[in-house]
């Protein structure tokens, strides 16, 4: 590209012709993209949790006697069961100790182990209901603990976020394209004499519009950078807080999430910038 230097200078000139509104639109598009970023991350978090828990769906079965081996064997016959084992009360104690972490001191206030032995059954989330129906028919069952409520709730949050995510993508797209195309039209109007002179000199259309497309694209890419930086900050904060207070919550991998956010912000802002500029060019009279 022999004219790259010229195009960049022109782009800078177009930018300077409306410095204030251009900075305002960078900031507002940046905020719009950040909103999208946040929704997207929320969706990632919850769907990650749902995914993990869905495969690891677990019910705990407590008995009113100690006939663990036989009950285990009869439950193991149900086709839904992926894994079943006996959790002795010592293990139950150790598990809770681990979950409580630094708070596990409270357990020492008990004289005896307060936990019971139970059967731990693993299966797919979708099969929990039918399995529970079957297990309930067995006589010596005292109580079945399942986490379906929580799972269902997380699942529906994830669905809402997913829908929101798509709506936001649409809103972000339309708003950004409208803002950018407006900036481009404004620039074209400002430079209309220049454009008509270039036409008279025989300049090809691409030569004439290149600085405007560059301008629109750079504006949104700057917004994308702002949004990506803010997102990284937020990811760091969220990971710090969650892993401090809820250590057992399954989190997505932090670096993957940061990479994903950067990639998402940059590619979306780039594409929207080009689309917005082209839309602006198409809708201006020249």
């Amino acid at each position: 590209m022999k004219n790259t230097g010229y195009f960049l200078k022109e782009t800078w000139r177009i930018f300077k012709s409306h410095t204030f509104t251009n900075i305002l639109s960078i900031v507002s598009i940046g905020l719009i993209l950040l909103m999208f970023s946040l929704i997207f991350m929320g969706w990632q978090f919850t769907s990650n949790i749902v995914e993990i828990v869905r495969n690891e769906a677990e019910i705990d079965v407590y008995l009113n006697n100690s006939d663990f081996e036989n009950t285990r064997d009869s439950i193991a016959n149900f086709p839904e069961v992926r894994e079943i084992r006996i959790v002795e009360k010592e293990e139950a104690y150790a598990k809770m100790e681990k979950i409580l972490g630094s708070e596990s001191k409270v357990l020492t206030y008990f004289d005896e182990n307060p936990f019971q032995s139970y059967l731990e059954i693993k299966m797919n989330l979708d099969e929990v209901n039918s399995l529970i129906d079957n297990i309930e028919k067995i006589e010596n069952i005292d109580y079945i603990r399942d986490n379906r409520d929580i799972l269902d709730r997380i699942d529906s949050i994830s669905k809402v976020l997913s829908t929101l995510n798509h709506l936001i993508i649409l809103a972000v797209g339309i708003t950004t394209i409208l803002i950018i195309s407006h900036m481009i039209r404004q620039g074209i109007y400002q430079f209309k004499d220049k454009i008509s002179t270039l036409n008279l000199l025989g300049a090809p259309p691409l030569f004439i519009v290149a600085p405007f497309i560059l301008e629109g694209t750079l504006l949104t890419v700057f917004s994308g950078i702002i949004s990506a930086l803010a997102s990284i900050l937020i990811i760091n904060m969220v990971f710090g807080n969650i892993s401090g207070t809820l250590p057992f919550l399954p989190l997505p991998i932090k670096n993957e999430m940061i990479a994903m956010t950067i990639y998402l912000n940059m590619s979306i802002s780039f594409i929207l910038g080009i689309l917005g500029s082209i839309f602006g060019l198409m809708t201006s009279k020249n």
Partner: protein, 225 residues
Amino acid sequence: MIDLKKITLKYRNGTVALKDMNIEIRKGELVFIIGESGSGKTSLLKLFMGMVVPTEGIVMIDNQDINKMNASHKREVLKSMGPIFQEFKLMKGTTTIENVMLGLRFYGYDNNYIRTEAINTLKKVGLSHKANIKIEDLSWGENQRVAIARAIARKPKIIIADEPTGNLDHDNAVNILNLLSSLRDENTTVIITTHATHLIGLNSDVRVIQLKDGQMIGDEKRVIS
């Protein structure tokens, strides 16, 4: 090269700027178009460039109707022209040399060549010392010479100059006219409007077309030795 056939040009407000005009201009000719202000000189040049469409008649450039060409053909024709507009049409906010370089940017030349050509042409019009001054900080006469430099640097087949000496003092005017007419040596067609008729005599082998109220009232070849 340029052939106007039975041209009438009527502007939207009803003004008839040109009436029933036939002109043929051949390659390598030096043509002066003279006439009072409002006689139709600028309108005639605009026809050559397809900037206005005649109400009647056709404008042929190299045997093609300029108003029937497709966009890219017309661009090629415009690229072969070096227009010097009466109101200059320079780019404010950019420097002298940037303006001259702009006229050369879409021929596929590399940047160094464009810069060198621009500097050489600015030397010819006596403005190389103002290469890096912004257009709006130059005098009218200097603006005019930048516009001339932008046109000649393109090494066009046709120079179309609308009152190129209008804002110049005598010495500069003589200089510019000599420069423009010397382009004929490279077989360039040169068309100049002017009302500085006293300067025409300085050139040899010229054609003078005289307009009055949109009509041609004179077309003579002058051979001055």
